[in-house]
Symmetry: C2
Subunit: 134 residues, 2 copies
DNA sequence: CAGTATCCTCATGGATACTG
DNA sequence: CAGTATCCATGAGGATACTG
């Protein structure tokens, strides 16, 4: 049977309940693995395992789930070649490319400003432990 | 005791384990409530409860946690006035404003393309149920 | 290789009650 | 009002085994 994939509970890792579709899409795009997948695919198409290695520390399950969600939202194109062994290429659709560009903006910003963030944390933590009173 | 906040386990909702700081920051910014907080604060400063109402469907706990994480990362400024009843204003730092702009880009894109995404989903679902075989 | 199907864990995150 | 502290449910996400 070809139904649910993923555990049978909580299908596409929506938050489950009723939520405005807007937030839902936003959460797919900003989801932990969604972000990374989109960024990788911005470079070039990837095969499943390639993608898995490129991202690192992602389980097959979560990658599959993420890719399915993004495919369903029309952001990722899945091209399964009917060969043995199977070969499946994932790439961005035009829509997906737009989304990915936005996400990349965020990622680039993060890299650029990482130092400042880390610095801010030290200040914050120092201040906290300074005013610590048991 | 002023220690842990949040349950005592899993302090700032990092993924817990060792992860490159880059991803960590990215996840704070793209976190479910982080995204929404940043976008709201882009308009103007907000008080705690105001923010809570503006976002809707967020528990005090998660809002507190999100705000603390963002404050620690130097993205949000917390201004606690020593009055009774307490009044705390949250606003973006310069760093936070930059991040928020990026996030807003994503949010705006989502709103603009929501229709296309929803449409893509219908196609996807229709195709799936078409090739359903028990 | 590219998934599926399960089982299982534990953090995410909500509800509630309490405090300064 | 703005948090803190707890208790708890459940869904995100990992590990493993199996299939086409």
């Amino acid at each position: 049977m070809a139904v649910s994939t993923v555990d049978s509970k909580a299908a596409q890792y929506d938050t489950g309940e009723a939520m405005c579709p807007y937030r839902l899409v936003l959460e797919h795009v900003t989801s932990r693995w969604g972000v990374l997948v989109l960024i990788e695919l911005l470079d070039r198409p990837y095969r499943f395992s390639e993608l898995r290695r490129a991202i690192g520390r992602v389980s097959e399950k979560m990658l599959t789930q993420t890719l399915q969600t993004l495919e369903r939202d029309g952001l990722v194109h899945r091209d399964a070649k009917p060969v043995i062994p199977p070969r499946v290429d994932y790439s961005l659709t035009d829509l997906g490319r737009e989304a990915a560009e936005q996400v990349r903006g965020l990622a680039v910003w993060t890299q650029e400003r990482l130092g400042e963030v880390l610095e801010a944390r030290e200040v914050y933590d120092a201040r906290k432990s300074g005013s610590e009173q048991e």
